[in-house]
């Protein structure tokens, strides 16, 4: 029952934030909507026993990534109004067709019973329990789903992707810095050409 209430409240926050991203004319409001969505998803991660991922979501996504977004919005200018008229003539109808197609496909998947692989053949979830039980598990030290398991998996089974991730982050940050420092030298090239 408690999970139902949390699902309804946080699910509406998720959808409202997402609609705010798509609808907002001001990019700052769009960023605020995205931040609300990310926080509500972190709540979902907590009730799914994914505490580590929830913490990373709040710190990295809602903290660092959104700060980066807001920084770039301020750099580009917040008072710049975006024209919503479309130059490609067929983009709006094609978008409508894509949306209707995805809705119909999802409806077929749900109604046709193809959803059973997700919840198991007998309809039972593997990790049962109410939010209260999960809260008690949070406190216990030997909880198998606690932070220690994720940490252990990172440095044992997923060690190679983890190290590749560090290389990716280095390459990405160096690339971002070099892109920021890059200036096209048109004038000097023109002088050489003359």
């Amino acid at each position: 029952m408690a999970e139902l209430v949390i699902f309804i409240v946080m699910g509406s926050v998720v959808l409202a934030g997402a609609l705010g991203v798509v609808r907002a004319r001001n990019p700052v409001y769009a960023a605020m909507g995205l931040m609300a969505t990310l926080f509500a998803l972190a709540v979902f991660y907590v009730i799914h026993l994914a505490h580590f991922v929830a913490v990373v979501q709040v710190i990295v996504y809602a903290g660092a990534v959104m700060t980066l977004f807001l920084f770039v919005i301020m750099f580009i200018g917040v008072d710049r109004t975006e024209s919503l008229d479309e130059r490609l003539p067929f983009q709006r109808p094609i978008a409508l067709i894509v949306v209707i197609g995805v809705v119909v496909l999802a409806g077929i998947l749900v109604v046709g019973g193809e959803f059973t692989w997700i919840i198991g053949s007998d309809g039972q979830t593997a990790v049962n329990g109410t939010v209260e039980e999960i809260g008690r598990n949070l406190i216990s030290v030997d909880n198998p789903e606690s932070l220690n398991v994720v940490d252990g998996r990172i440095v044992s089974r997923w060690l190679l992707p983890f190290e590749a991730t560090s290389a990716l982050l280095i390459v990405a940050s160096v690339g971002a810095v070099s892109l920021a420092f890059y200036r096209p030298r048109r004038r000097k090239d023109a002088e050489v050409a003359e």
């Binding site: 999970e3 799914h48 994914a50 660092a64 982050l169 971002a176 892109l179």
Partner: protein, 101 residues
């Protein structure tokens, strides 16, 4: 009334759809970027829900790596947007159509 993982899957599908609509309809490159983030987060929610349903922690590991790659992608993508803005004074993707045939 219990909340099954299917509910979370449905919520994630709706979230993914909203992200798709934003990516298709908006012109501002920043908003399109945020829509891509919405789609990534929808997939993350399905990973977490399926991982809980199967009692498998590898779903959370997948979400962890998606988070890291998304952070790197945002850093590089925003740097590209900033450098485009410095040379063109615009962030609208419709103004960057020189290569259209």
């Amino acid at each position: 009334m219990t909340v099954t993982p299917g509910w979370y899957m449905t919520l994630a599908a709706v979230l993914f759809l909203i992200g798709t609509v934003g990516l298709l309809l908006r012109n501002n490159a920043l908003i399109m970027f945020m829509s891509v983030e919405l789609m990534l987060n929808a997939v993350n929610l399905t990973f977490i829900a399926a991982g809980r349903a199967h009692g498998d922690i590898n779903g959370q590991m997948a979400v962890f790596f998606v988070l890291v790659v998304a952070a790197a992608e945002v850093a590089v993508g925003l740097a590209i947007i900033v450098s485009i803005y410095r040379s063109r004074q615009t962030a609208s993707v419709d103004d960057l159509a020189e290569m259209s045939g």
